[in-house]
Symmetry: C2
Subunit: 153 residues, 2 copies
């Protein structure tokens, strides 16, 4: 079950300049940065607010680190702007499977690693009214990572 807007992914040509814009204009600070080699991006997560499922909502700024990355191709075609949106779930596997059963193309056979150790997959924008849609389970919050209730005492 999708329980929050996890982030809005925004593609940019120059991550440092874009981070500066968000800080100077809105006061948003960088919460986390990383390079995701698989996705071919350097990214900054700006935490905007907490959510009532115990998670957070972020702005994710993405700069491509190689020309053959999906984000680089998208930028070349569209220019800077919103690249994707992401909904948070405790069980990305179950929600990806549910989408697949409803006829929505899921881009990965199995979820891959996203920001901050999360597990992510994407739904095809042509099956989602033009919106590239990510499903994300934050690290440590997946259904399978919840420890069983102790019966030792």
């Amino acid at each position: 079950m999708l329980t929050r807007i996890d982030h809005i992914g925004i593609a940019c040509f120059d991550l440092d300049r874009t981070v500066d814009f968000y800080r100077a204009t809105y006061g948003f600070e960088v919460f986390h940065t990383e390079v995701n080699e698989e996705q071919g991006v350097r990214e900054a997560m700006l935490r905007i607010n907490g959510t009532d499922d115990g998670g957070s909502s972020y702005i994710q700024l993405l700069e491509p680190v190689r020309e053959d990355s999906a984000v680089a191709k998208w930028l070349a075609k569209n220019g800077e702007g919103v690249h994707h949106i992401a909904f948070g779930t405790a069980d990305v596997d179950a929600d990806a499977e549910a989408a697949r059963e409803r006829g929505v193309r899921v881009l990965y056979d199995e979820p891959r690693t996203g920001s901050m150790g999360s597990r992510i997959t994407f739904l095809h924008p042509k099956d989602c009214h033009g919106v590239l849609t990510e499903l994300v389970t934050a690290a440590g919050s997946s259904a399978s990572s919840v420890p069983p209730a102790s019966t030792d005492h």
Copy 2:
């Protein structure tokens, strides 16, 4: 101060079909619908989660109701997809003025009426790294609507 992702505005050709997609695929229900004659749109707000500033985050689905509306022109050029993002604030006037002072073009001289009686303005996408950015103060939550502390007792 911007304290939440208030909504993601998504332009679509057929509001009812798009609402059906979000309900069937994700289980998101319609929280509110209205026609905004000034903006030239019919819209549905899908509430996704609560936020730790006391507000909510929504998906806003937008269908144009006249061909000369900004959303109709945007759809003709871009097809369906993310039209804008919106940050929530208790004081849209102050945040719009702050953006203006930093050289960001604000599209309205004064905030106008948005979804559910909110007060909104937009920042020019060319000044925001390609992202049409809305600032929104929810009805009843503006700084000026907070009653003064009583000194009667």
